[in-house]
């Protein structure tokens, strides 16, 4: 490599060394430089991954944090007036998300205290931990320890202080914990498909996060999903016949929920995240998982195999899926709220121009909240829940026989069922007529 940097130290310049006639032999073997700053010694993680020994610690860290910050600013994920809830599982991804959000907040606080007029407030941050122990009572012996650890971790991330919300997953059913736990177990037992059970639990988890977020005044939910997680999701969605709704799940922003979900680590790969945890000494906790024998696990192993063959495969998968057309709700909704700073509003407007302007009202599956493809609906189904659900949930979650279906519906959380009633009310004919009412010349009775 030609020496073109004026700041180049003699240790790294082979040419210069040779000219000086000093240590010409060992230079070749020893010192390499960070390929980015060309100053410091590169880090070796020794994890057998790609790009090992190419970047120094600082450049590596700023690279990852840079991706986070770019995602946050370009999608207006976190703005000064926001109150942000970080979903924290104790795993590496969410640990990094929490750390980065905290650092962003610290910086905002510093700016706030330094500014004269204090016009821009500092966004609030809360942390939510979902306790799934009720779903698999036999396995979650260590959950109270995990919760204690989470508590101390959140405590260490202040100032600014952050509220911690420990959310039992059964809270989606109500506040009576015994009854709720019982109902959860009954509900899960009535799902015969293994993958369906895992997915239903994920949907309930999201519902519980939404519940705690909206009840405590948060207006953003930060989820730490990284590229690798999304790559698996692309494949699982494909094999479950959810190709239509796939593009909704893998964007930076998912605003179909009451509290919009943002994915600031979407462009970081698992390897970067684990390396960062190692580098910064970020501790994580891995709760014993129920052995996953379904499709989700098969896909994870498949992706791991592909990664071995080509370490860029995850990125290619997500990049391909990113070429699919997103939905209208895959952006932070514009708001006339005067509290939102002008800069943010401008950024939102500029960003939103990229998306298809048409505001189509989608119908959503009451169980998984995926946008429904028009061709999926079957209006002459006797059971309302079945008619309203997507084909994937119909197969893997709903019971196959009609008699169990009604009982199943009664076990679902109220929030899911209320979606069904709403869907029932809006039948397509009435809905369409409403839309074109202004253009119709004839009365309703005479109209075609």
């Amino acid at each position: 490599m030609a020496c073109n940097s004026s700041g180049c130290e003699s240790g790294g310049c082979y040419g210069r060394e040779k000219d000086n006639g000093r240590k010409a032999v060992d230079v070749k073997e020893t010192v390499t430089l960070c390929v980015k700053c060309k100053c410091n010694e590169p880090m070796t993680f020794g994890d057998g991954g790609s790009d090992d020994g190419r970047f120094c610690a600082e450049c590596f860290r700023s690279n990852v944090y840079g991706k986070f910050r770019l995602a946050v600013t370009s999608h207006a994920m976190i703005t000064p007036s926001d109150n942000v809830l970080v979903a924290f599982s104790g795993g590496s991804s969410s640990r990094v998300a929490l750390q980065f959000v905290h650092e962003l907040q610290v910086k905002a606080l510093k700016n706030y205290e330094a500014s004269r007029d204090r016009s821009l407030p500092v966004f609030g941050v809360g942390v939510a931990f979902v306790d799934e122990s009720a779903a698999y009572p036999a396995l979650y012996g260590g959950v109270s320890d995990a919760i204690a650890w989470v508590r101390s971790t959140v405590l260490s991330l202040s100032p600014p202080g952050k509220d911690l919300h420990v959310v039992p997953i059964e809270s989606v059913f109500g506040s009576d914990s015994v009854e709720a736990r019982d109902r959860l177990v009954k509900l899960l037992d009535s799902v015969s498909d293994e993958t369906g059970k895992e997915d239903l639990l994920l949907h309930l988890k999201m519902l519980s996060l939404q519940k705690v977020a909206s009840e405590n005044g948060y207006n953003r939910l930060v989820v730490g999903s990284c590229t690798s997680r999304l790559a698996s999701h692309v494949l699982t969605a494909t094999v479950k016949g959810r190709g239509y709704s796939l593009s909704a799940d893998i964007q930076h922003v998912d605003a179909r929920w009451k509290v919009p979900i943002v994915l600031p680590l979407r462009d970081c790969v698992w390897q970067e995240i684990t390396r960062l945890c190692h580098l910064d000494g970020l501790k994580t906790v891995e709760l014993a998982r129920h052995p996953q024998s379904g499709i989700n696990d098969l896909v994870s192993s498949f992706v791991a195999l592909l990664q071995e063959e080509n370490p860029s495969r995850e990125c290619t998968i997500v990049r391909t899926a990113a070429k699919l057309t997103p939905f209208y709700f895959n952006k932070i909704p514009e708001t006339d709220d005067s509290c939102v700073p002008m800069a943010t509003q401008r950024r939102l407007k500029k960003f939103n121009l990229k998306y298809d302007g048409s505001m189509t009202t989608e119908a959503f599956c009451p169980i998984c909240n995926c946008p429904l493809n028009g061709s999926d609906s079957s209006e002459d189904e006797s059971d309302a829940l079945y008619a309203a659900s997507c084909s994937s949930c119909r197969f893997q979650i709903l019971p196959q026989d009609g008699s169990s279906l009604e009982q199943f519906g009664s076990l679902l959380p109220h929030h899911m069922i209320s979606q069904v009633k709403h869907h029932q009310k809006v039948d397509s004919q009435t809905y369409l007529r409403e839309k074109i009412k202004d253009c119709l010349l004839l009365d309703d009775e005479e109209a075609v």
Binding site: M1, V35, K36, S50, D51, R54, F55, N63, T195, V234, L235, A237, T238, V239, K240, G241, R242, G243, Y244, L246, S247, G294, I295, L298, F302, L305, L306, E309, P311, S312, R313, T316, I317, R319, T320, A321, K323, L324, T325, N373, S391, S392, F395
Partner: protein, 371 residues
Amino acid sequence: MEASEGKSKKQGASRLCCLCNQRRPVLKRPKTLQQICKECFYEVFEEEIHQVIVKNHLFKSGERVAIGASGGKDSTVLAYVLSELNRRHSYGLDLFLLSIDEGITGYRDDSLETVKRNELQYGLPLQILSYKDLYGWTMDDIVKMIGLKNNCTFCGVFRRQALDRGAALLKVDKLVTGHNADDIAETVLLNILRGDIARLSRCTSITTGEDGPIPRCKPFKYTYEKEIVIYPFITESFSLHTYAYFKKLDYFSTECIYSPNAYRGFAREFIKDLERLRPRAILDIIKSGEDFRIATTTKMPEQGTCERCGYISSQKWCKACVLLDGLNRGLPKMGIGRARGGVNGDHQKETKKPASAARSLESKQCGSLDF
């Protein structure tokens, strides 16, 4: 008396074909896991294909249709079923067999014998075209030159053109191929893995190339590979024609001798595992492929003709000509990987750039690209 009758009835009920409820089941249907008898299996197998043909308006009466016949299980069953349905439901089609000889010793020469037999058995006129005649290279020659990687690319590109030329020779209106549900599901996955969004939007269409030289369709789009394997052994009339003539019973499971190194193998293994967990997943993958929201602007590359041979092409030269040129000039990597040179790109660096450069380019982080 009643109790014992009831008991035997219960035992009998669980051991009757769940479609006709009369005969004893002999297999569990791969697609639906239903326990069915032999007769119901080939009835439902043939009926489903008939429905696919009808619902998707694949054919018009009076059309001349060439069946891409490799001698393998898919095309042999296709030839049999299509001629049977043509007769039974009076499609009014003029059927032909079109076979391509890629020149793979120990594989293609054996299966070609089968096609020649099919010509006699089904009474369908046969046309054989060889790579040697069309391009001057056999697959064996090609593999000797380029090694065991990327040979599927050559074979696939050459075969597509060969089929089109054969179809033109036979003056047919349409080409049918034996691509089954497993094939299409694999292709969907492959296109996701390789980032080919344009192909992803086209690969689930049951009919393709309607605006090209010869439209081609895939009647087996929703037919499981496992069922295609079972069908010949189950159907008596089929085995009457073919069984007696086979030298080796395991001919159906013979794969191309060069296939173990193909990237498609990853997708195939995965789908086999997936099918074990959830049989309907194969159809679900196809459904996802059909439902992907892909903007119509990304779909079609601009269509032109190849300057060298006149075949349909989106570039200056068609892929076959690019590959052939590479072979003839002793540059086996030309046309493989990203188009960074050759006729269709920059003439300068192409021949000097090693194949490894393409790979390392993908994995390079910022700040280190050294051109």
